[in-house]
Symmetry: C2
């Protein structure tokens, strides 16, 4: 049989400034590119396996997982295939089909899908709606109190540490306390935070944390992190009756290949870059100020922002699009002329973006480019 | 914090002849190494996603999955994280906790673990024991008849196409027919076959097939293939109620990163190498003949072998080890001196190995090296 041409190049995204928030935290440092080269082939990390991925000592996966657990302050850490697979593992191990869980109104779709796959009922804590879309701890208390009043048992509380729509950073510490007061463990989804900003699971009152290597830890996807407190190890890391060393929720082993090598190679880099987090937030705030000088542009979500992912309402670009011969594509095309990509083709009413990890010069250039595009059409 | 040294090199396994059967089918061709370079970063294949990994057209994941489905003759194909994750997805979608499934006595441990994670009862069809360890279709018929007599309902029949202990190739076509006569669908585990030898799911009477990219399809792990017949699509590819395009068992999307790019890049290479399968089997048989000329060495499993994975009883090496100052390590060390790796350190009583994918010269050299080692010590 003949294969189609799959177009396996990524020049545009590799060689231009990519503002897609999904891609900003997953760019590999040199050490991870080297690890990818070393561990390219198949089951490359399994040469010295004696039965369990998390106990392999060449490469030092075991030592790495110890470091990873220290890094996020959990008692145990495992790699999973991504944050969603980590969430499903926790839900599947802790809950029975028909159980109820409480989640935030800004939860990622994969939280809903993982819960649905596990057969769980979801009760949502609403956000504060336009324009902040904030998740308040009191909301969790109200929902949990209501459920208790209704005699409804809750198996798990889930909180999105930083959501993917507004980049709102939530108060895990308070919400964890509320969950614990109700006798329910907290699962914190750190897909947009672990690897960008410091995670301290214990200070955050989180029983479980999940992170995403490809989203925020400078790793090649798919790979995620699952951290947990000792008290949940018997349930979540339960071993097979038949194969005494194999952990059931991990199906024995998870990341059997290159992605874990990149996550390992990137950890020292990630630890180092966290120190720059406050600067990243300051730079993003400066960028927001710059953008908001453009007529009608408004940053949604909590202000000032506490994360690099920002969402803007941009009526000005929509207005230009309505008169432009290329319609909504004009913005993508104008940006691309300036070597900027990552805003979806056709999108002008609003967009999400991130300038995380760029140099000062690049960040300034990106802000100036948006202004230049507006000015170009306003002068016409 | 300071990270440990993770020893992220793989010189020994990359630069020597690696006989580990787990590693033989996962070596990347040049095109896949290039794809790995292009798609190194994070969520690299998701730039042009409009909601589902399997519908992405840049790179052409959608077209690739169509090709993949043709390649294995199924109505649908998806990538999963590996064969085990594919098996779990089928079990989780089709069965309820407490259900009974019938599997072969040579099933991989991940079949047991996936079933245990899904809460299923396993009934095994025994193999023919020493020295063939063969799985006979009649065994499936007996077990299924017995269960019917006991009024026990069976939700799924699973067969290991080629097992990882003896490399026995099973008669899927007959066993699928037996399963269908009992009104039960067949899941065929092709981790050691898909990508090495031709797979025709329909001719094999398989409702579901799973394959392993890192084990047998020249891809960077972790990645697997899940193929299914149209009649099971509603169950296995069921969509979320809340997120209409997201498939529940896939948690929305699976291989969001580099491994799928390598699997895509490798497909034309894999299609081509299948044509050489008969030669690979001939070469393995020749290698077995050569090995069995060594006193006491016996190939276990069906003879002549029908696969490249072979298991030998090697009392002669165990005998040498008993007198050698390095004990069981001598074999590993003697092989390594000859640039051959992949037999576990300390193992001498028996071992599994494969010469799949090596050149004629390399294959001859490997056989001669074992003989040379025996002769060296027998002359002493």
């Amino acid at each position: 049989m003949e294969c189609q041409d799959y177009g396996l190049t990524r020049d545009t995204e590799r060689k231009n400034l990519n503002l897609n928030p999904l891609q900003r935290g997953g760019v590999l440092p040199v050490a991870a590119r080297k690890a990818l080269y070393e561990f390219s082939d198949g089951y490359s990390v399994c040469d010295y396996c004696v039965g369990r991925l998390d106990e392999i000592s060449k490469p030092e996966i075991k030592g790495f997982l110890d470091d990873l657990a220290s890094f996020i302050n959990t008692d145990h850490a495992r790699t999973v295939h991504g944050a969603r697979e980590g969430k499903f593992a926790v839900m599947h191990a802790l809950c029975k089909p028909g159980d109820t869980i409480v989640i935030d109104g800004n939860a990622h779709y994969t939280t809903h899908v993982a819960a649905e796959r596990a057969g769980l009922n979801i009760v949502e804590v609403p956000n504060s709606e336009y324009p902040d879309y904030k998740i308040n701890p009191e909301g969790y208390k109200e929902v949990l109190d209501d459920l208790t009043d209704q005699g409804e048992e809750v198996s798990l509380v889930l909180l999105t540490h930083v959501d993917g729509n507004y980049g709102n950073l939530t108060d895990s510490s308070s919400i964890g306390k509320i969950a614990h007061n109700a006798g329910v463990p907290l699962l914190l989804n750190c897909a947009y935070s672990m690897g960008r900003l410091p995670i301290d699971a214990k200070a955050f009152n989180a029983d479980f944390v999940v992170g995403s290597g490809h989203k925020s830890m400078a790793a090649s996807g798919p790979i995620g992190v699952l951290g947990l407190k000792e008290e949940w190890a018997d349930i979540l890391l339960k071993k097979s009756k038949r194969h005494a060393v194999k952990e059931l929720e991990m199906l024995g082993c998870t990341s059997r290949g290159a992605p874990v090598a990149t996550l390992m190679a990137s950890l020292p880099f990630v630890i180092e870059r966290l120190k720059n987090w406050d600067n990243e937030v300051q730079d993003t705030r400066k960028f927001v100020d710059q953008m908001e000088k453009i007529e009608g542009v408004v940053q949604l979500g909590v202000k000032p922002t506490e994360h690099d992912l920002v969402r803007f309402e941009t009526p000005v670009f929509d207005e230009i699009a309505s008169k432009h011969p290329r319609r909504g594509f004009f913005l993508y095309e104008e940006l691309k002329k300036r070597n900027i990509v990552g805003i979806k083709r056709g999108q002008t009413k609003w967009f999400k973006c991130s300038i995380y990890g760029f140099s000062k010069e690049q960040k300034d250039y990106i802000g100036e480019s948006f202004i230049e595009i507006v000015n170009k059409y306003h002068e016409m």
